[in-house]
């Protein structure tokens, strides 16, 4: 019962978060230089045409009234129509969402499949060659900008080797390079986090006790040390997934993936407020839900964590 209460409480807490984020974005976009009506009609538009379009878009109303009206419509599922492209922004968002989701999912999957085992190896082989190699590559991946890594990967895998497509979507192969590019930094973070926390656990008394009792090394690492060291890693996974969902703009641009990152970028560039607000509200909601799920997993992994208490 306390778990249900906790979830309800967290869901209610999302409401002020949504209002805060959407109001902030709305104000920033509305107060930034540039009249959307003039941008749509062009530099040489006549004042009467601009005025007519401003009226049509509701730009002549006071700022907070406009925001309120938008949010009221949004609550009823109407996130508006793109000022430039005239499509329903929510439909377009959900049309593009799977591409971003798969990109974020595969990038995180790579970070788990590669980052965590390699981090474990580094911790177990502490101060040995394997640890040095892992440390070196994690620093390399952390410090390499995603777009640079992506462009090098395109040259190598698309032109020179011809193994993978350089752009677009349509198959799993299309996502490999973008996911590795975007996941490079997360792989490195997972390697470092796993290594650090596992080392901390390995040095703990309960691990020493387990060894003293004659438990096999593999069992000591997997069942005793790892379980405790995984909490910060799981926290990181949630944060990383959220960051991936909201931070795909560069990768999507480099690999020409029609996802929500490039969608938001287009909206910001053209001051197309319905596109940006719709995207931000839905992403914020998803991030809030992902964090809630992570907290629930927390409680499952660590019995000491009591949700709602």
């Amino acid at each position: 019962m306390s778990m249900v209460k906790y979830i309800l409480k967290r869901l209610l807490m999302l409401i002020p978060v949504m209002v805060g984020i959407s109001l902030f974005i709305y104000l920033v976009l509305s107060l930034a230089p540039g009249d959307p009506a003039r941008m749509i009609l062009g530099m040489d538009a006549l004042p009467e045409d601009i005025e007519a379009l401003r009226e049509e878009l509701g730009l002549n109303k006071p700022l907070l009234i406009r925001y309120g009206l938008y949010m009221w419509d949004a609550l009823h599922g109407d996130f508006g129509t793109s000022w430039y492209q005239r499509f329903d922004v929510a439909s377009e968002f959900f049309h593009r969402l799977p591409n971003t989701f798969w990109l974020a999912f595969i990038a995180n999957a790579f970070s788990i499949i590669i980052g965590i085992p390699v981090g474990i190896i580094a911790a177990v082989r502490h101060n040995k060659p394997a640890d040095y190699v892992v440390t070196f590559f994690s620093l390399l991946l952390c410090s390499a900008p995603g777009f640079w890594l992506g462009m090098l990967a395109q040259l190598l895998f698309c032109i020179r080797l011809g193994w993978l497509p350089s752009s677009g979507v349509g198959s799993f192969a299309h996502f490999i390079l973008p996911a590795l590019t975007m996941g490079g930094g997360i792989i490195a973070i997972n390697m470092r986090t796993t290594r650090t926390w596992l080392l901390d656990s390995i040095r703990s008394d309960y691990v020493r006790t387990a060894r003293a009792k004659g438990a096999r090394e593999g069992r000591v690492i997997v069942h005793h040390a790892m379980r405790n060291s995984m909490l910060p890693v799981i926290t990181g996974l949630g944060m990383n997934f959220a960051a991936c969902m909201a931070g795909t703009a560069v990768t999507e641009t480099v690999f020409a993936i029609p996802g929500i990152g490039s969608f938001i970028t287009t909206g910001v560039k053209t001051k197309d407020i319905p596109i940006v607000l719709c995207s931000v509200i839905i992403i914020a909601l998803m991030v809030g839900l992902v964090n809630l799920i992570v907290d629930i997993i927390y409680a499952v992994v660590d019995p000491r964590v009591k949700l709602g208490s």
Binding site: G34, D49, E92, A256, K269
Partner: protein
Amino acid sequence: MKKKIALILALGMLAGSIAGCGNPGGQDTGDSSGAGDNRTSEKTGSNSEGNNESTPAASSKDTVVIATAVEPIYFFMQQEPATAASLGQDAIVLYNIYDYLFNLDESGALEPSIGLEYTIENDGLTYVVKIRDDAYFTNGDKVTAEDVAFSYNLVFENIPANARGLLTGLESAEARDETTVQFNMSTKFAAFPNCWTTRAAPIISKTYYEEVGADGYQAAPLGSGPYTLGEVVSGESLTMHANEDYWGGAPAIKNVIVRPISNVNTQFVALQSGEVDVILNANLASCLQLDPNVASWAYCDSATRALMLMQSNPASGSQMVDENLRKAIACCVNREDLVIGVCEGYGSPSWYDTVPSYLGAPALEDCTLAAEYDLDKAKEYLEASNYDGSPLSIYCNSGSRAEQAANIIQGAMIAAGINAEVKAVDGGTSSAAMASGEYDMLIAESTGSQFDTGCLGNIYTTPSFAQMMSDEAFAWMDEKIQAQRQETDPEARKALTAEILSYMNENTISVPLYLPAATIAFNKDLKGVVAHPQTITHLQDWSW
């Protein structure tokens, strides 16, 4: 041990760098710093040798994949004509699924399409066009004069006032008989025949429009062009299929896929890896690096010109009102540097504010040209001015060619003793600055709506430009431009145009900078590809 590990890691990094940065396929790219031996044209726009020998695989292909920087959006111009949102990106679809009354060839001349010939009546206030009687919409309906008249009347009803330059002077259109259309003008406009080629008025079916309405037309456009629109996946791709019954003959390329790829590097990786076959508006610097065994590129003079607007309206409060200061700045423009630095050496210097290949453009020797680069003279003008040394802003769009130009000009201005600040901003900020007149200088690239000097009036008689000139200058320009638009005698029109362009240079109203090239990059096996000044592509001319 640590040294060994360090050595292994260093070797690994070196091997990775070599693998990643090496020449694709181990092929020799030849000289990439100069003219580039893989291009197929010498500023003519004609595709010549270099792509004549196609591979067996190429000859069996019937699909072309085209990369564009921006996704085509509007397929029904009568509903959404000529807003800033519907610019060149739609041309690849519009000019291929629809027929236009006439087409503009690579030299800027009109060539027959649905329209076969035209005559001028009523002292230039009536144009009569004879149309072909063997053209059909892809639903089987015949294209009639009534469809043509309806197409123009509908676009004229919906077109925003600022875009009326696309159909300047038009009042209405009517069908005289099944194959004759009459255009009635409210005022004379000598460049009107050029309007028949602009993207604003494709020929649509009146019957189909009445059946499906504007939204239905946008969703499923019906034209009489060489292609029909197939599947459109937003943000991903757009497909066109050949119209086998096209009056001009069935196109050799049966399927065309248009893919939006905004990143220049990705466009060229996709071209070299064979994922795309053509890049529209290809980046010049990247064209020079293309592997000639895989791809070619072509270029020609574009219909675009770059200019620097100079704030000279006394109401603005800008120091630029001082004519000597404006002249000093004009002397700081080194056009050779701009052509090399901005256009990779493939553009031309611009000496007056129009494109010399436009119809009706006067000869350079008949005009007062822009000041040549001369820092000593700039200093003399500066000495004679009241310039107080405070910073002068040069607005430009961030990341554009205009920003590169602004940086080059800024360097020269600083050398002359003028404190110049480059303000590279987003489109919204620059349009706000332009609308309010709150700038000292603003660099922009402008493409004429018509391939004709008649389009001067689309810019210099609009409210935004009234903000940058004195009332006296604006009134003079307005009067002369209206006269130039209505003058039908070619020589008299050229003389008027020369007078306007000279006035602009003499009073430093704007400073012409450079004329960029129009480019297209393509698979070397693709035939018939040519660069077009307005980036118009006629896909029925292409084949493998």
